[in-house]
Protein backbone atom coordinates (compact mmCIF):
# COMPACT_ATOMS: atom_id res chain seq x y z
CA UNK A 1 0.00 0.00 0.00
CA UNK A 2 2.66 2.48 1.08
CA UNK A 3 4.79 1.51 -1.85
CA UNK A 4 1.88 2.09 -4.20
CA UNK A 5 1.17 5.53 -2.74
CA UNK A 6 4.86 6.44 -2.93
CA UNK A 7 4.99 5.35 -6.56
CA UNK A 8 1.94 7.39 -7.47
CA UNK A 9 3.29 10.46 -5.68
CA UNK A 10 6.65 10.12 -7.41
CA UNK A 11 4.86 9.94 -10.75
CA UNK A 12 2.84 13.00 -9.79
CA UNK A 13 5.98 14.93 -8.88
CA UNK A 14 7.53 14.02 -12.21
CA UNK A 15 4.46 15.03 -14.15
CA UNK A 16 4.26 18.31 -12.26
CA UNK A 17 7.85 19.05 -13.17
CA UNK A 18 7.06 18.47 -16.83
CA UNK A 19 3.98 20.66 -16.51
CA UNK A 20 5.95 23.47 -14.89
CA UNK A 21 8.37 23.39 -17.81
CA UNK A 22 5.50 23.60 -20.28
CA UNK A 23 3.88 26.43 -18.32
CA UNK A 24 7.18 28.26 -18.13
CA UNK A 25 7.55 28.10 -21.89
CA UNK A 26 3.95 29.23 -22.36
CA UNK A 27 4.34 32.10 -19.88
CA UNK A 28 7.49 33.15 -21.68
CA UNK A 29 5.70 33.24 -25.02
CA UNK A 30 2.82 35.34 -23.69
CA UNK A 31 2.60 38.97 -24.72
CA UNK A 32 3.33 41.59 -22.07
CA UNK A 33 6.30 42.38 -19.85
CA UNK A 34 6.07 40.67 -16.44
CA UNK A 35 8.64 43.10 -14.99
CA UNK A 36 6.44 46.07 -15.86
CA UNK A 37 3.44 44.30 -14.40
CA UNK A 38 5.31 43.65 -11.15
CA UNK A 39 6.54 47.25 -11.00
CA UNK A 40 3.01 48.62 -11.13
CA UNK A 41 1.94 48.62 -14.76
CA UNK A 42 1.82 51.51 -17.19
CA UNK A 43 2.66 54.18 -14.63
CA UNK A 44 5.94 52.55 -13.55
CA UNK A 45 9.12 54.44 -14.47
CA UNK A 46 11.88 52.79 -16.47
CA UNK A 47 13.95 52.65 -13.30
CA UNK A 48 11.21 50.85 -11.37
CA UNK A 49 10.81 48.33 -14.20
CA UNK A 50 14.59 47.74 -14.21
CA UNK A 51 14.62 47.06 -10.47
CA UNK A 52 11.63 44.72 -10.75
CA UNK A 53 13.38 42.89 -13.58
CA UNK A 54 16.41 42.32 -11.42
CA UNK A 55 14.33 41.28 -8.43
CA UNK A 56 12.42 38.72 -10.50
CA UNK A 57 15.67 37.52 -12.09
CA UNK A 58 14.33 38.26 -15.56
CA UNK A 59 17.77 39.47 -16.67
CA UNK A 60 19.32 36.07 -15.87
CA UNK A 61 19.76 33.14 -18.29
CA UNK A 62 16.58 31.19 -19.16
CA UNK A 63 17.63 28.09 -17.22
CA UNK A 64 18.10 30.16 -14.07
CA UNK A 65 14.80 31.88 -14.71
CA UNK A 66 13.11 28.50 -14.90
CA UNK A 67 14.57 27.45 -11.55
CA UNK A 68 13.47 30.73 -10.00
CA UNK A 69 9.99 30.24 -11.46
CA UNK A 70 9.90 26.70 -10.08
CA UNK A 71 10.90 27.96 -6.63
CA UNK A 72 8.29 30.71 -6.63
CA UNK A 73 5.52 28.40 -7.83
CA UNK A 74 6.41 25.74 -5.27
CA UNK A 75 6.10 28.36 -2.53
CA UNK A 76 2.67 29.31 -3.86
CA UNK A 77 3.84 32.65 -5.22
CA UNK A 78 1.99 32.97 -8.53
CA UNK A 79 2.69 36.66 -9.04
CA UNK A 80 0.24 39.52 -9.11
CA UNK A 81 -2.86 39.97 -11.23
CA UNK A 82 -2.68 42.84 -13.69
CA UNK A 83 -6.32 43.72 -13.05
CA UNK A 84 -7.02 43.16 -9.36
CA UNK A 85 -3.45 44.13 -8.36
CA UNK A 86 -3.63 41.44 -5.70
CA UNK A 87 -1.59 38.27 -5.26
CA UNK A 88 -3.02 35.70 -7.68
CA UNK A 89 -2.84 32.98 -5.02
CA UNK A 90 -5.10 35.08 -2.77
CA UNK A 91 -7.53 35.70 -5.61
CA UNK A 92 -7.74 32.00 -6.38
CA UNK A 93 -8.22 31.09 -2.72
CA UNK A 94 -11.12 33.51 -2.52
CA UNK A 95 -12.86 32.16 -5.62
CA UNK A 96 -12.10 28.48 -5.13
CA UNK A 97 -14.80 27.54 -2.57
CA UNK A 98 -17.50 28.61 -5.03
CA UNK A 99 -16.07 26.31 -7.70
CA UNK A 100 -15.78 23.46 -5.23
CA UNK A 101 -19.37 23.91 -4.05
CA UNK A 102 -20.67 23.86 -7.61
CA UNK A 103 -18.55 20.83 -8.56
CA UNK A 104 -19.52 18.88 -5.46
CA UNK A 105 -23.22 19.53 -6.08
CA UNK A 106 -22.84 18.46 -9.71
CA UNK A 107 -21.04 15.23 -8.79
CA UNK A 108 -23.76 14.48 -6.24
CA UNK A 109 -26.45 14.98 -8.88
CA UNK A 110 -24.59 12.93 -11.46
CA UNK A 111 -23.96 10.06 -9.07
CA UNK A 112 -27.40 9.99 -7.47
CA UNK A 113 -29.16 9.98 -10.83
CA UNK A 114 -26.57 8.23 -13.00
CA UNK A 115 -26.08 5.07 -10.94
CA UNK A 116 -29.78 4.12 -10.69
CA UNK A 117 -30.24 4.86 -14.40
CA UNK A 118 -27.26 2.66 -15.21
CA UNK A 119 -28.60 -0.18 -13.06
CA UNK A 120 -31.99 0.11 -14.72
CA UNK A 121 -30.53 -0.07 -18.17
CA UNK A 122 -28.27 -3.03 -17.30
CA UNK A 123 -31.17 -4.98 -15.82
CA UNK A 124 -33.33 -4.24 -18.84
CA UNK A 125 -30.54 -4.88 -21.26
CA UNK A 126 -31.64 -4.99 -24.88
CA UNK A 127 -35.13 -3.76 -24.11
CA UNK A 128 -36.62 -0.45 -25.13
CA UNK A 129 -35.55 1.44 -22.01
CA UNK A 130 -31.96 0.30 -22.60
CA UNK A 131 -31.98 1.67 -26.14
CA UNK A 132 -33.55 4.89 -24.95
CA UNK A 133 -30.85 5.26 -22.30
CA UNK A 134 -28.14 4.70 -24.88
CA UNK A 135 -29.57 7.46 -27.05
CA UNK A 136 -29.98 9.70 -24.01
CA UNK A 137 -26.31 9.12 -23.24
CA UNK A 138 -25.29 10.21 -26.74
CA UNK A 139 -27.52 13.28 -26.48
CA UNK A 140 -25.99 14.10 -23.10
CA UNK A 141 -22.39 13.97 -24.24
CA UNK A 142 -23.19 15.91 -27.43
CA UNK A 143 -24.45 18.99 -25.67
CA UNK A 144 -21.96 21.83 -25.23
CA UNK A 145 -22.32 22.72 -21.56
CA UNK A 146 -22.17 26.47 -22.23
CA UNK A 147 -25.08 26.24 -24.64
CA UNK A 148 -27.11 23.99 -22.34
CA UNK A 149 -26.61 26.62 -19.63
CA UNK A 150 -28.03 29.35 -21.87
CA UNK A 151 -31.04 27.25 -22.77
CA UNK A 152 -31.59 26.38 -19.10
CA UNK A 153 -31.56 30.08 -18.17
CA UNK A 154 -34.00 30.79 -20.97
CA UNK A 155 -36.43 28.09 -19.85
CA UNK A 156 -36.19 28.16 -16.06
CA UNK A 157 -35.57 31.87 -15.56
CA UNK A 158 -36.98 33.80 -18.52
CA UNK A 159 -39.98 31.65 -19.41
CA UNK A 160 -40.97 29.80 -16.22
CA UNK A 161 -39.51 32.25 -13.71
CA UNK A 162 -38.71 29.36 -11.38
CA UNK A 163 -35.01 29.81 -10.70
CA UNK A 164 -32.51 32.68 -10.67
CA UNK A 165 -30.26 33.18 -13.70
CA UNK A 166 -26.95 33.66 -11.96
CA UNK A 167 -24.90 34.43 -8.87
CA UNK A 168 -24.63 32.45 -5.65
CA UNK A 169 -27.24 34.22 -3.53
CA UNK A 170 -29.89 36.98 -3.85
CA UNK A 171 -28.16 40.27 -4.38
CA UNK A 172 -30.18 41.77 -1.53
CA UNK A 173 -28.71 39.27 0.91
CA UNK A 174 -25.20 39.41 2.31
CA UNK A 175 -23.30 36.11 2.14
CA UNK A 176 -23.51 33.92 5.24
CA UNK A 177 -20.62 34.17 7.75
CA UNK A 178 -17.55 32.55 6.22
CA UNK A 179 -16.71 29.11 7.64
CA UNK A 180 -16.31 26.65 4.78
CA UNK A 181 -16.85 29.06 1.90
CA UNK A 182 -19.81 26.93 0.75
CA UNK A 183 -22.83 29.25 0.96
CA UNK A 184 -25.17 26.31 1.52
CA UNK A 185 -23.07 24.78 4.31
CA UNK A 186 -22.35 28.16 5.91
CA UNK A 187 -26.04 29.12 5.96
CA UNK A 188 -26.85 25.76 7.47
CA UNK A 189 -24.18 26.23 10.15
CA UNK A 190 -25.52 29.68 10.92
CA UNK A 191 -29.04 28.24 11.09
CA UNK A 192 -30.14 30.81 8.53
CA UNK A 193 -33.06 29.36 6.58
CA UNK A 194 -33.53 32.35 4.31
CA UNK A 195 -29.95 32.34 3.08
CA UNK A 196 -29.90 28.55 2.76
CA UNK A 197 -33.00 28.60 0.56
CA UNK A 198 -31.56 31.36 -1.60
CA UNK A 199 -28.17 29.64 -1.93
CA UNK A 200 -29.85 26.36 -2.88
CA UNK A 201 -32.07 28.03 -5.46
CA UNK A 202 -29.01 29.59 -7.05
CA UNK A 203 -27.06 26.33 -6.97
CA UNK A 204 -29.64 24.02 -8.58
CA UNK A 205 -29.53 25.15 -12.20
CA UNK A 206 -25.76 25.47 -12.71
CA UNK A 207 -25.14 22.20 -10.88
CA UNK A 208 -27.71 20.35 -12.99
CA UNK A 209 -26.33 21.80 -16.21
CA UNK A 210 -22.78 20.97 -15.22
CA UNK A 211 -23.71 17.41 -14.26
CA UNK A 212 -25.30 16.38 -17.60
CA UNK A 213 -22.21 15.00 -19.31
CA UNK A 214 -21.04 13.22 -16.18
CA UNK A 215 -24.48 11.86 -15.50
CA UNK A 216 -24.57 10.29 -18.94
CA UNK A 217 -21.08 8.92 -18.49
CA UNK A 218 -21.70 7.51 -15.01
CA UNK A 219 -24.92 5.84 -16.14
CA UNK A 220 -23.09 4.25 -19.04
CA UNK A 221 -20.19 3.03 -16.90
CA UNK A 222 -22.54 1.67 -14.22
CA UNK A 223 -24.35 -0.27 -16.89
CA UNK A 224 -21.24 -1.87 -18.36
CA UNK A 225 -19.65 -2.60 -14.95
CA UNK A 226 -22.83 -4.27 -13.80
CA UNK A 227 -23.22 -6.25 -17.01
CA UNK A 228 -19.68 -7.52 -16.66
CA UNK A 229 -20.33 -8.73 -13.12
CA UNK A 230 -23.68 -10.24 -14.10
CA UNK A 231 -21.80 -12.54 -16.45
CA UNK A 232 -19.68 -13.97 -13.62
CA UNK A 233 -19.98 -17.53 -12.30
CA UNK A 234 -20.97 -16.53 -8.79
CA UNK A 235 -23.95 -14.63 -10.16
CA UNK A 236 -25.00 -17.73 -12.04
CA UNK A 237 -24.58 -19.72 -8.83
CA UNK A 238 -26.69 -17.23 -6.91
CA UNK A 239 -29.40 -17.49 -9.53
CA UNK A 240 -29.14 -21.28 -9.57
CA UNK A 241 -29.71 -21.26 -5.82
CA UNK A 242 -33.05 -19.74 -6.63
CA UNK A 243 -32.40 -16.28 -5.18
CA UNK A 244 -34.76 -13.56 -6.26
CA UNK A 245 -33.41 -11.45 -9.12
CA UNK A 246 -33.48 -8.24 -7.06
CA UNK A 247 -31.38 -9.92 -4.38
CA UNK A 248 -28.92 -11.24 -6.96
CA UNK A 249 -28.47 -7.76 -8.38
CA UNK A 250 -28.22 -5.78 -5.17
CA UNK A 251 -26.37 -8.24 -2.94
CA UNK A 252 -24.14 -10.08 -5.35
CA UNK A 253 -23.65 -8.07 -8.48
CA UNK A 254 -23.80 -4.45 -7.38
CA UNK A 255 -21.40 -4.91 -4.47
CA UNK A 256 -18.78 -6.27 -6.79
CA UNK A 257 -19.36 -3.58 -9.37
CA UNK A 258 -19.22 -0.86 -6.71
CA UNK A 259 -15.50 -0.12 -6.84
CA UNK A 260 -15.20 0.66 -10.56
CA UNK A 261 -18.41 2.70 -10.35
CA UNK A 262 -17.07 4.72 -7.41
CA UNK A 263 -13.79 5.27 -9.24
CA UNK A 264 -15.72 6.52 -12.29
CA UNK A 265 -17.60 8.98 -10.10
CA UNK A 266 -14.38 10.09 -8.41
CA UNK A 267 -12.63 10.70 -11.72
CA UNK A 268 -15.61 12.76 -12.86
CA UNK A 269 -14.76 15.27 -10.13
CA UNK A 270 -11.76 16.45 -12.10
CA UNK A 271 -13.66 16.51 -15.39
CA UNK A 272 -16.44 18.50 -13.78
CA UNK A 273 -14.03 21.04 -12.37
CA UNK A 274 -12.93 21.58 -15.98
CA UNK A 275 -16.54 21.94 -17.12
CA UNK A 276 -17.12 24.36 -14.24
CA UNK A 277 -14.98 26.93 -16.06
CA UNK A 278 -17.66 27.20 -18.75
CA UNK A 279 -20.69 26.74 -16.52
CA UNK A 280 -19.52 29.46 -14.14
CA UNK A 281 -19.14 31.92 -16.99
CA UNK A 282 -22.73 31.35 -18.13
CA UNK A 283 -24.21 31.63 -14.64
CA UNK A 284 -21.88 34.44 -13.45
CA UNK A 285 -20.91 32.09 -10.65
CA UNK A 286 -17.96 33.75 -8.87
CA UNK A 287 -15.55 30.79 -9.00
CA UNK A 288 -12.07 30.35 -10.42
CA UNK A 289 -13.54 29.55 -13.86
CA UNK A 290 -15.15 32.97 -14.11
CA UNK A 291 -11.88 34.41 -12.82
CA UNK A 292 -9.95 32.64 -15.60
CA UNK A 293 -12.31 33.67 -18.38
CA UNK A 294 -12.32 37.29 -17.27
CA UNK A 295 -8.51 37.05 -17.16
CA UNK A 296 -8.65 36.07 -20.84
CA UNK A 297 -10.95 38.99 -21.61
CA UNK A 298 -8.73 41.47 -19.77
CA UNK A 299 -5.53 39.96 -21.15
CA UNK A 300 -4.49 39.38 -17.56
CA UNK A 301 -2.01 36.66 -18.51
CA UNK A 302 -0.32 36.21 -15.10
CA UNK A 303 -3.75 35.46 -13.61
CA UNK A 304 -4.57 33.01 -16.41
CA UNK A 305 -1.27 31.17 -15.91
CA UNK A 306 -1.74 31.11 -12.13
CA UNK A 307 -5.15 29.58 -12.68
CA UNK A 308 -3.82 27.01 -15.17
CA UNK A 309 -0.97 25.89 -12.90
CA UNK A 310 -3.15 25.64 -9.79
CA UNK A 311 -6.01 23.96 -11.57
CA UNK A 312 -3.77 21.43 -13.32
CA UNK A 313 -2.10 20.55 -10.05
CA UNK A 314 -5.42 20.07 -8.23
CA UNK A 315 -6.75 17.98 -11.10
CA UNK A 316 -3.74 15.67 -11.16
CA UNK A 317 -3.68 15.43 -7.37
CA UNK A 318 -7.38 14.58 -7.26
CA UNK A 319 -6.91 11.77 -9.75
CA UNK A 320 -4.03 10.34 -7.72
CA UNK A 321 -6.19 10.43 -4.58
CA UNK A 322 -9.00 8.60 -6.39
CA UNK A 323 -6.53 6.01 -7.69
CA UNK A 324 -5.12 5.43 -4.22
CA UNK A 325 -8.61 5.09 -2.74
CA UNK A 326 -9.52 2.62 -5.47
CA UNK A 327 -6.40 0.64 -4.64
CA UNK A 328 -7.31 0.70 -0.97
CA UNK A 329 -10.81 -0.60 -1.72
CA UNK A 330 -9.64 -3.25 -4.10
CA UNK A 331 -5.98 -4.28 -4.17
CA UNK A 332 -6.57 -6.24 -7.36
CA UNK A 333 -6.57 -2.91 -9.19
CA UNK A 334 -3.00 -2.38 -10.24
CA UNK A 335 -1.45 0.13 -12.54
Amino acid sequence: MLLYVARRLAALAFVMLGMSLLMFVVAHALPGDPARVAAGGVEATTEMVRIAREQLGLDRPLAVQYLLYLGRTARGDLGRSVVTRRRIADDLLEFFPATLELTAAAVAFAGLLGVPLGILSAVRRGRLSDHVSRLAFLFGISMPVFWLGLVAILVFYAVLGLLPAGGRIDYLLTPPPHVTGFYTADSLLAGDGQRLASALRHLVLPALVLSTVSLAFIARMTRSCLLEVLGEDYVRTARAKGLREALVIYKHALRNAAVPILVTIGLQLGTLMGGAVLTETIFTWPGIGTYAVSAVENQDYPALMGFAVTFSFLYALLNVVVDVLAYRLNPRVSV
Binding site: A11, L12, F14, V15, G18, M19, L22, M23, V25, V26, A27, A29, L30, P31, R125, R134, L135, L138, F139, I141, S142, M143, P144, V145, F146, W147, L150, V151, I153, L154, Y157, A158, A165, R223, S224, L227, G270, T271, M273, G274, V277, L278, T281, I282, A292, V293, V296, E297, Y301, L304, M305, F307, A308, F311, S312, Y315, A316, N319
Partner: protein
Amino acid sequence: MTRRLGLVWLARQLGRNVPAALGALLILLLLVVSLEPRWFTERDPYRLDPVNRLLPPSATYLLGTDEMGRDIYTRIVYGTRLTLGAAVLAVALATVVGGLVGLLAGYAGGWLDEVVMRTTDVFLAFPPLVLAMAVVAALGQDLVNSVLGLAGIWWAQYARLMRSRVLEITAQEYVLGARATGVGRPRILLRHVAPNGLAPLTVKASIDMGLVVIMLSALSFMGLGAKPPIPEWGAMITTGRKYLLDYWWVPTFPGFAIFVSVLAFNLLGDWIRDVMDPRART
Protein backbone atom coordinates in the same frame (compact mmCIF):
# COMPACT_ATOMS: atom_id res chain seq x y z
CA MET B 1 -9.44 -6.26 -37.07
CA THR B 2 -7.81 -8.89 -39.26
CA ARG B 3 -11.07 -9.38 -41.12
CA ARG B 4 -11.17 -7.41 -44.30
CA LEU B 5 -14.00 -4.96 -44.05
CA GLY B 6 -15.68 -4.63 -47.40
CA LEU B 7 -17.41 -1.34 -48.10
CA VAL B 8 -20.60 -3.16 -49.03
CA TRP B 9 -20.60 -5.08 -45.78
CA LEU B 10 -20.01 -1.85 -43.90
CA ALA B 11 -22.84 -0.06 -45.67
CA ARG B 12 -25.20 -2.95 -44.95
CA GLN B 13 -24.27 -2.86 -41.27
CA LEU B 14 -24.87 0.86 -41.20
CA GLY B 15 -28.31 0.43 -42.75
CA ARG B 16 -29.31 -1.84 -39.86
CA ASN B 17 -28.49 0.77 -37.26
CA VAL B 18 -30.98 3.59 -37.67
CA PRO B 19 -29.35 6.17 -35.35
CA ALA B 20 -25.90 5.61 -36.87
CA ALA B 21 -27.29 5.84 -40.40
CA LEU B 22 -28.98 9.09 -39.41
CA GLY B 23 -25.66 10.35 -38.07
CA ALA B 24 -23.90 9.41 -41.31
CA LEU B 25 -26.53 11.18 -43.40
CA LEU B 26 -26.24 14.30 -41.27
CA ILE B 27 -22.47 14.32 -41.61
CA LEU B 28 -22.86 13.93 -45.37
CA LEU B 29 -25.21 16.92 -45.39
CA LEU B 30 -22.80 18.97 -43.26
CA LEU B 31 -20.02 18.07 -45.68
CA VAL B 32 -22.04 19.32 -48.64
CA VAL B 33 -22.97 22.49 -46.73
CA SER B 34 -19.35 23.23 -45.92
CA LEU B 35 -18.21 22.62 -49.49
CA GLU B 36 -20.98 24.58 -51.20
CA PRO B 37 -22.65 27.02 -48.76
CA ARG B 38 -24.08 28.92 -51.73
CA TRP B 39 -26.42 26.05 -52.52
CA PHE B 40 -28.16 26.66 -49.22
CA THR B 41 -28.39 30.42 -48.95
CA GLU B 42 -28.14 33.41 -51.24
CA ARG B 43 -27.32 35.94 -48.52
CA ASP B 44 -23.91 37.18 -47.40
CA PRO B 45 -22.90 36.10 -43.87
CA TYR B 46 -21.04 39.38 -43.26
CA ARG B 47 -23.46 41.92 -44.76
CA LEU B 48 -24.63 44.40 -42.12
CA ASP B 49 -28.24 45.55 -42.21
CA PRO B 50 -28.88 47.72 -39.13
CA VAL B 51 -32.50 48.38 -40.07
CA ASN B 52 -33.34 44.71 -39.74
CA ARG B 53 -31.42 43.98 -36.55
CA LEU B 54 -32.62 41.43 -33.96
CA LEU B 55 -35.65 40.29 -35.95
CA PRO B 56 -37.29 37.07 -34.73
CA PRO B 57 -37.36 33.96 -36.94
CA SER B 58 -39.74 34.41 -39.85
CA ALA B 59 -40.26 33.26 -43.42
CA THR B 60 -37.75 35.84 -44.67
CA TYR B 61 -35.20 35.29 -41.92
CA LEU B 62 -35.51 31.59 -41.13
CA LEU B 63 -33.59 31.78 -37.83
CA GLY B 64 -33.88 35.53 -37.26
CA THR B 65 -31.21 38.20 -37.47
CA ASP B 66 -28.44 39.16 -35.06
CA GLU B 67 -27.45 42.47 -33.46
CA MET B 68 -25.99 43.73 -36.75
CA GLY B 69 -28.93 42.62 -38.86
CA ARG B 70 -27.05 39.67 -40.32
CA ASP B 71 -29.08 36.58 -41.20
CA ILE B 72 -28.34 33.94 -38.55
CA TYR B 73 -29.25 31.02 -40.81
CA THR B 74 -26.77 32.22 -43.43
CA ARG B 75 -24.08 32.68 -40.82
CA ILE B 76 -24.61 29.16 -39.51
CA VAL B 77 -24.43 27.79 -43.05
CA TYR B 78 -21.15 29.58 -43.72
CA GLY B 79 -19.89 28.73 -40.23
CA THR B 80 -20.16 25.00 -40.93
CA ARG B 81 -16.95 24.95 -42.92
CA LEU B 82 -15.09 26.96 -40.28
CA THR B 83 -16.36 25.10 -37.23
CA LEU B 84 -16.18 21.57 -38.58
CA GLY B 85 -13.14 22.24 -40.76
CA ALA B 86 -11.22 23.44 -37.73
CA ALA B 87 -12.17 20.29 -35.82
CA VAL B 88 -11.18 18.02 -38.71
CA LEU B 89 -7.89 19.84 -39.00
CA ALA B 90 -7.17 19.57 -35.27
CA VAL B 91 -7.96 15.85 -35.18
CA ALA B 92 -5.98 15.19 -38.38
CA LEU B 93 -2.95 17.06 -37.04
CA ALA B 94 -3.10 15.25 -33.73
CA THR B 95 -3.49 11.89 -35.49
CA VAL B 96 -0.59 12.41 -37.87
CA VAL B 97 1.80 13.85 -35.29
CA GLY B 98 0.77 11.45 -32.55
CA GLY B 99 0.81 8.49 -34.94
CA LEU B 100 4.31 9.26 -36.18
CA VAL B 101 5.69 9.88 -32.70
CA GLY B 102 4.07 6.70 -31.40
CA LEU B 103 5.37 4.71 -34.36
CA LEU B 104 8.93 5.88 -33.79
CA ALA B 105 8.77 5.43 -30.01
CA GLY B 106 7.31 1.95 -30.22
CA TYR B 107 9.65 0.74 -32.91
CA ALA B 108 12.85 2.33 -31.67
CA GLY B 109 12.28 1.50 -28.00
CA GLY B 110 15.00 2.34 -25.49
CA TRP B 111 15.54 5.90 -24.32
CA LEU B 112 13.53 7.47 -27.13
CA ASP B 113 10.52 5.44 -26.11
CA GLU B 114 11.05 6.43 -22.49
CA VAL B 115 11.28 10.14 -23.29
CA VAL B 116 8.18 10.08 -25.47
CA MET B 117 6.13 8.13 -22.95
CA ARG B 118 7.05 10.42 -20.05
CA THR B 119 6.18 13.43 -22.22
CA THR B 120 2.77 12.00 -23.01
CA ASP B 121 2.30 11.35 -19.27
CA VAL B 122 2.51 15.09 -18.71
CA PHE B 123 -0.09 15.87 -21.37
CA LEU B 124 -2.47 13.14 -20.23
CA ALA B 125 -2.31 14.00 -16.52
CA PHE B 126 -3.88 17.43 -16.94
CA PRO B 127 -7.28 18.75 -17.99
CA PRO B 128 -7.15 19.32 -21.78
CA LEU B 129 -9.38 22.39 -21.81
CA VAL B 130 -7.35 24.26 -19.18
CA LEU B 131 -4.09 23.29 -20.86
CA ALA B 132 -5.48 24.46 -24.19
CA MET B 133 -6.52 27.78 -22.63
CA ALA B 134 -2.94 28.48 -21.54
CA VAL B 135 -1.35 27.35 -24.80
CA VAL B 136 -3.76 29.25 -27.03
CA ALA B 137 -3.36 32.40 -24.92
CA ALA B 138 0.39 32.17 -25.55
CA LEU B 139 -0.02 31.59 -29.28
CA GLY B 140 -2.48 34.45 -29.64
CA GLN B 141 -6.27 34.46 -29.85
CA ASP B 142 -7.17 33.12 -33.24
CA LEU B 143 -9.03 30.17 -34.78
CA VAL B 144 -5.89 28.69 -36.35
CA ASN B 145 -4.06 28.96 -33.05
CA SER B 146 -6.84 27.22 -31.18
CA VAL B 147 -6.56 24.36 -33.69
CA LEU B 148 -2.79 24.21 -33.22
CA GLY B 149 -3.10 24.45 -29.45
CA LEU B 150 -5.65 21.67 -29.19
CA ALA B 151 -3.72 19.40 -31.57
CA GLY B 152 -0.59 20.16 -29.53
CA ILE B 153 -2.28 18.60 -26.52
CA TRP B 154 -4.40 15.91 -28.16
CA TRP B 155 -1.50 14.20 -30.01
CA ALA B 156 -0.37 12.45 -26.82
CA GLN B 157 -3.41 10.16 -26.82
CA TYR B 158 -2.73 9.05 -30.39
CA ALA B 159 0.96 8.54 -29.66
CA ARG B 160 0.06 6.22 -26.77
CA LEU B 161 -2.39 4.25 -28.90
CA MET B 162 0.00 3.91 -31.84
CA ARG B 163 2.88 2.85 -29.62
CA SER B 164 0.89 0.04 -28.01
CA ARG B 165 -0.24 -1.16 -31.44
CA VAL B 166 3.33 -1.10 -32.73
CA LEU B 167 4.51 -3.21 -29.81
CA GLU B 168 1.75 -5.71 -30.60
CA ILE B 169 2.46 -5.77 -34.31
CA THR B 170 6.24 -6.09 -34.10
CA ALA B 171 5.76 -9.28 -32.09
CA GLN B 172 3.60 -10.79 -34.86
CA GLU B 173 4.99 -13.60 -36.95
CA TYR B 174 4.73 -11.81 -40.27
CA VAL B 175 6.98 -9.05 -39.00
CA LEU B 176 9.46 -11.56 -37.62
CA GLY B 177 9.25 -13.34 -40.95
CA ALA B 178 9.96 -10.18 -42.87
CA ARG B 179 12.88 -9.41 -40.63
CA ALA B 180 14.23 -12.95 -41.03
CA THR B 181 14.18 -12.61 -44.82
CA GLY B 182 16.40 -9.57 -44.45
CA VAL B 183 13.93 -6.73 -45.01
CA GLY B 184 15.33 -3.45 -43.73
CA ARG B 185 13.95 -1.57 -40.73
CA PRO B 186 12.45 1.42 -42.57
CA ARG B 187 10.68 -0.89 -44.99
CA ILE B 188 9.23 -3.03 -42.21
CA LEU B 189 8.05 0.12 -40.49
CA LEU B 190 6.40 1.51 -43.58
CA ARG B 191 5.06 -1.63 -45.21
CA HIS B 192 4.08 -3.79 -42.26
CA VAL B 193 3.78 -1.84 -39.05
CA ALA B 194 2.33 1.52 -40.05
CA PRO B 195 -0.62 0.28 -42.16
CA ASN B 196 -1.71 -2.15 -39.46
CA GLY B 197 -1.43 0.43 -36.74
CA LEU B 198 -3.55 2.93 -38.66
CA ALA B 199 -6.96 1.30 -38.14
CA PRO B 200 -7.32 1.91 -34.39
CA LEU B 201 -6.02 5.42 -34.90
CA THR B 202 -8.68 6.30 -37.46
CA VAL B 203 -11.34 4.73 -35.26
CA LYS B 204 -10.24 6.88 -32.35
CA ALA B 205 -10.10 9.94 -34.59
CA SER B 206 -13.71 9.44 -35.70
CA ILE B 207 -14.87 8.90 -32.12
CA ASP B 208 -13.01 12.03 -30.96
CA MET B 209 -14.52 14.33 -33.59
CA GLY B 210 -17.56 15.29 -31.55
CA LEU B 211 -15.52 16.08 -28.47
CA VAL B 212 -13.08 18.20 -30.46
CA VAL B 213 -15.91 20.22 -32.02
CA ILE B 214 -17.13 20.97 -28.50
CA MET B 215 -13.64 21.83 -27.22
CA LEU B 216 -12.91 24.21 -30.09
CA SER B 217 -16.23 25.98 -29.78
CA ALA B 218 -15.66 26.20 -26.01
CA LEU B 219 -12.33 27.91 -26.66
CA SER B 220 -14.02 30.31 -29.07
CA PHE B 221 -16.74 30.89 -26.50
CA MET B 222 -14.10 31.91 -23.95
CA GLY B 223 -12.58 34.31 -26.44
CA LEU B 224 -9.62 32.06 -27.24
CA GLY B 225 -10.51 30.98 -30.75
CA ALA B 226 -12.32 32.48 -33.68
CA LYS B 227 -12.97 36.17 -33.27
CA PRO B 228 -16.09 38.02 -34.40
CA PRO B 229 -17.26 38.77 -37.03
CA ILE B 230 -16.18 35.30 -38.20
CA PRO B 231 -19.32 33.11 -38.25
CA GLU B 232 -17.74 30.34 -36.17
CA TRP B 233 -20.53 28.83 -34.05
CA GLY B 234 -18.83 29.16 -30.66
CA ALA B 235 -17.93 32.80 -31.33
CA MET B 236 -21.52 33.45 -32.45
CA ILE B 237 -22.75 32.22 -29.06
CA THR B 238 -20.32 34.53 -27.24
CA THR B 239 -21.50 37.65 -29.03
CA GLY B 240 -25.13 36.53 -28.93
CA ARG B 241 -25.08 35.76 -25.21
CA LYS B 242 -25.84 39.36 -24.27
CA TYR B 243 -29.15 39.15 -26.15
CA LEU B 244 -30.34 35.85 -24.66
CA LEU B 245 -33.18 37.13 -22.52
CA ASP B 246 -34.81 39.47 -25.04
CA TYR B 247 -33.75 37.94 -28.35
CA TRP B 248 -33.33 34.25 -27.51
CA TRP B 249 -32.71 33.13 -31.11
CA VAL B 250 -29.40 34.94 -31.42
CA PRO B 251 -27.27 32.61 -29.23
CA THR B 252 -29.63 29.61 -29.26
CA PHE B 253 -29.46 28.56 -32.90
CA PRO B 254 -25.67 28.52 -33.30
CA GLY B 255 -25.54 26.34 -30.15
CA PHE B 256 -28.16 24.06 -31.61
CA ALA B 257 -26.00 23.70 -34.72
CA ILE B 258 -23.07 22.61 -32.54
CA PHE B 259 -25.28 20.15 -30.68
CA VAL B 260 -26.69 18.58 -33.84
CA SER B 261 -23.33 18.13 -35.55
CA VAL B 262 -21.67 16.75 -32.42
CA LEU B 263 -24.58 14.36 -32.02
CA ALA B 264 -24.14 13.23 -35.62
CA PHE B 265 -20.45 12.50 -35.02
CA ASN B 266 -21.22 10.71 -31.76
CA LEU B 267 -23.99 8.56 -33.29
CA LEU B 268 -21.62 7.44 -36.00
CA GLY B 269 -18.62 7.13 -33.67
CA ASP B 270 -20.57 4.97 -31.24
CA TRP B 271 -21.42 2.60 -34.06
CA ILE B 272 -17.86 2.55 -35.42
CA ARG B 273 -16.61 1.59 -31.97
CA ASP B 274 -19.06 -1.31 -31.92
CA VAL B 275 -18.21 -2.55 -35.39
CA MET B 276 -14.46 -2.31 -34.89
CA ASP B 277 -14.42 -3.93 -31.49
CA PRO B 278 -17.26 -6.44 -31.08
CA ARG B 279 -16.02 -7.28 -27.58
CA ALA B 280 -16.85 -3.78 -26.38
CA ARG B 281 -20.43 -4.25 -27.51
CA THR B 282 -22.54 -4.54 -24.40
